[in-house]
Symmetry: D2
């Protein structure tokens, strides 16, 4: 299904970095969900570059919702969000069209689309497209919150600097969702920013790890084979630019341990079934167990760097060197937080709608 | 789509651990593919428990192909493989039906299926179901090999012991595919086996990391959003029992590095475009770049252990303790190699069929 | 998705006319649905040939349910039904393998599967495969009945003889569901049987029209574009062998009329909204309006006839003539009734599960 | 999947009659297809109302393609077409919001969307949405023509007046595709127009039958079960407003005949396999046989009529009467021709892309 994801609730993404606009259609939304344009704007703001640690390209992200909304609420029919591009510098790209930027999709796009791709600024592969995803996700995030389901993501590590771990989840999520640079330990966040600036000063870039927690999901959501919660979430999360790894619970951290250390024991807490630990990230056998969902995404260092790099001219078929010019992010990890939240909201809303029906997120129910 | 995975080529899994049989239907196979029953048997043998490091349950895995095959070749219509269960000890399970085994799906199955689930031996969640997946995958693995595409998986680490890394991929894959305990360094493999036996002696279990490489895929396969190669592969890989993390290329290993270190430079080698390194695991922007695909799966320590564990009786809603009896694996990582290979073959065959059409794997073309 | 149909509830069909068995996997069933083997058997009996008006091939249709069932109820995991073939006369087919039977799929199968198809008795295209569909459908039909939704099909016309129209729907459906030759007017049914026998005596065959009614569906099910109730039902109904046309409500009967004659006026009846007529077959804008669903399927005359026919040898590429031998149906319309009911139950159960969630058909809810 | 249709090539529709705009995203297009804006405009013109036989609402249909196109060709990424609404008279609708127009979706939309639907002018159910479908279809129609595949639809009957049947298909299709009122016999077309005007004069409406032919499709496309060519085409065709029946070949016309009359005999014509007749509409066993595809759609009389009608107020729950005002079509059958062609192109392009791969329609191949 390519650029469409989801079953009961499905999102379709379109647009190119230097085209007229980018956008998303989201189908299967319950009718009667609130559309809070201020909240959408706030979410877009988190994704928008700001300051020395981001690209100099500034887009207003003035979205418009052109279908599926009526009197400030979703109608239940496909909701379309359009976000015009206004700050393209397309001339930057024509001269280097056939020089494959290492770590980017220029060469793979050429092989897939035979040269017909819009190569300007990464075209359809650009992280710019995630603005539409964030706008659509904002509607779902608010709908989930009304059902008691909250999502929060922090920069677990960046450039080797580790943030604090989660503590009081409810408070942590609430605070993270107000931040433009989402860390639990402000001091560590400052160190991360400085590390990003240092890399930027050298024309280089950094990566890191994002950690996401979801509270309030009922037990019993997901499927045993293929449509496991891990499988469906990871499927979508690998579309977040630069994500190259996804792990649930302790995953890579428990591979050297023993079952007796990492089995999460069940116990009764105030008449509810809980686990004493959460090494499995809230999922057993592909299905939610009522504990918080916890996962981490590995974000590779941003591939756009100013240092000279060896590469090829893939049209001429010869070796070449490349020095990127233009506007680039020395780190995208802080901007990716809200994208991860949005993808997570989409996937979970879809799983819930499959399990409990079309209207399960509606304010009417 | 739950227990069915794939678009142009789709696999449906069915069966329970202690039911009459397990099986798979695979639809969308090109007509004319060879069905080599000896190879299927050999693949099933790799998955079957053996010796002190595995469960004492022994199943003959005598499969039969009851549709979609004619004169030793695929017909192109749905191919169904049935594998009877013969060694069930169902009495083992009735008494402990409502005691949630920590790390297992007993409780989540109960929440999802309201108590109607077949709880014996994990029912539909049992790793036993992967036998059908392996049998189906065997047909695709051989079809891919004929098109020059080879898949190999080794135990990258187990119980803290690290295997050697890949060297000559072609030779390594060929050798791994002959092994029941797939490691590149035989000596390390012996140490792993001993570590598994040591854990077993203590009634405990171990986990590890599987590393997979795929050679021969053309550049240009996959999609920019959602149906990225990473996304589709991970979606299916999280169905391999005990897999909790999936990373491509260096992923979690490069999060602390810089773009200048981890961008894979392109160069021309014998008129072909290659990269000097492969930190991205053969995928840029979600699309194959012609380099080997490389990924790793984190396998948690097997949850079935003999040590006494705290848990709950989820029907009575009270705390309880549990000492597993019966037959269990102190490690499944060695048995999971061929499951990962099979899942990988399924996903890649499907991506190729979507890209190049129904017949692209057929021997006729 | 080929041989799999459905979203929340999906059916996969497999098997060939002269293979070892045919079968179906049905995934997404609510847990806790009754499995009434006697009812399944009764439904299969309606499909099974009987007497002079059907083929002489007699299959016991001794099905077994090998997964997804436990203690007489569905578990919620994929339910697999196997039905062995026992009465194959495969020798009948080898000699005429490359002679395309007019009206059949021999030639199209050859073009699609390049000669690897199992050509015996129509292979995977055989109406035999519908036995598995009927067995799976039986479970859904009973689940729907428990929710107040009833399906009935009669032979509206056969060989030019018209049955009576529906009267008291509840009584008519109840009676039709007990009949092997489903007509509302017994006398007309006798005339139809005689017409079939007359055609059989001449080595020829007949067709007809099936008319189906569904009562008890709530208003508000279906989608405005693409997944209209008409669209999804027709998609599946065209898989019933020999069906070449599907119409809802009066369709082809109202094309020459005027809006003022065929708009169904709404009115209040005992506090419920009804329509005075039902020319739209219970569907407005693709969505159920609470009135009975009504549709008709055009069943072409059975293509298997004993009269000599002109055709081609598609391997030699030359003209040929063909006189069918073996066992063939002079009419399949009476056997198709229960197949149409089963397809209808599958589609409606899926639409309901998408709308109201996984458990909506469960006896627990 | 609701408002998205297709597998390898998928179309998503969005928009409401009185919203800001309507549009479509089409994903999976081969890269390098020509985008001929004049042709798109010409197709939209055929759908646009004109003269006394159509609604007085006039929309310019000034579309813009905002993604997926570059240098006049498709890029292979999602192509988005936007068509602003400019001629809404939304005040017409508010007063009668809860009066269900007979034959329309007002009541069913209310039941599905709980009152949150945009009820103005039919909202998302409006035929206006098909403008986006026609614009998207235009690209596919031209791509198919380059591969030798042509589609033509004529008004087979309208208000009881029968058009001539197809003769020389190639010439007939070419001519039909130039007409705004597509009939083969101009004289009959004039009679139809007069009948429409006569109905309009009485505040009433008419329906009819559309007949479509497709030439140039290779044999071997389609699937035996569920994704039959008939099934997939009908699924989409029932989204064309007012279509209530779909038949292939002679369907309802051969139900009273015999197999010996309606089996299409094969023969060799200039080394190609053909059939002497085409009662099966070019499809055997769900798969194309190389003969022209032929199908007919039953179009009910347009439900919007000016005559006073009995109905209900579905919010108050009481009987009411309704006299439509505003702008309405006394017939839509002539406007539906190009919609049917567009739907047909979408379905066939998708089936071909599944069979032969992503690039099969590309001008490069």
């Amino acid at each position: 299904m390519k650029n469409t994801f989801g079953n009961s609730i499905a999102l379709t993404l379109f647009g190119e970095s230097h085209g007229e606009m980018i956008g998303a259609v989201i189908d299967g939304l319950a009718p009667g969900l609130d559309i809070d344009e201020d909240f959408i704007r706030a979410q877009l703001d988190k994704r928008r570059p700001a300051g020395k640690i981001s690209t100099a390209r500034h887009e207003a992200d003035e979205f418009s919702i052109v279908s599926g909304a009526f009197n400030g609420k979703t109608t239940g029919t496909p909701l379309t969000i359009l976000i015009p591009n206004t700050s393209q510098h397309s001339k930057d790209y024509a001269a280097t069209r056939s020089l494959a930027r290492p770590g980017h999709a220029d060469y793979t796009a050429y092989k897939k689309y035979h040269g017909f791709e819009d190569y300007r600024g990464g075209g359809h592969f650009s992280g710019r497209v995630t603005a539409a995803l964030v706008a659509a996700g904002a509607i779902l995030i608010q709908a989930l919150v009304k059902k008691g389901i909250a999502i929060g993501t922090h920069i677990r590590s960046c450039a080797g600097i580790e943030d604090a771990g989660f503590g009081d989840l409810s408070a942590d999520i609430a605070r993270l969702n107000t931040l433009g640079f989402a860390v639990l330990d402000t001091e560590k966040g400052e160190q991360m920013r400085k590390a990003i600036e240092a890399a930027a000063a050298e024309g280089d870039s950094v990566g890191g790890v994002l950690e996401t927690v979801v509270t309030g999901l009922p037990a019993g959501v997901g499927e045993p084979w293929f449509d496991t919660v891990e499988g469906v979430l990871s499927h979508a999360l690998f579309s977040v630019p630069a994500v190259k790894g996804v792990e649930f619970g302790d995953a890579f951290g428990m591979v050297n341990g023993r079952g007796s250390e990492y089995n999460d024991s069940f116990y009764i807490f105030e008449k509810e079934i809980k686990t004493t630990t959460n090494h499995n990230g809230g999922i057993n056998g592909g299905i939610t167990n009522g504990m918080p969902i916890l996962f981490r995404c590995a974000v590779k260092p941003t591939p756009s760097i100013f240092k000279e790099q060896a590469t090829v001219d893939f049209i001429k078929g010869e070796n070449a060197s490349l020095s990127l010019k233009g506007r680039h992010d020395p780190a995208i990890i802080h901007r990716a937080c809200v994208v991860v939240d949005s993808v997570t909201a989409l996937v979970l809303a879809d799983l819930l709608a499959q399990r409990y029906g079309t209207d399960c997120l509606a304010s009417l129910s």
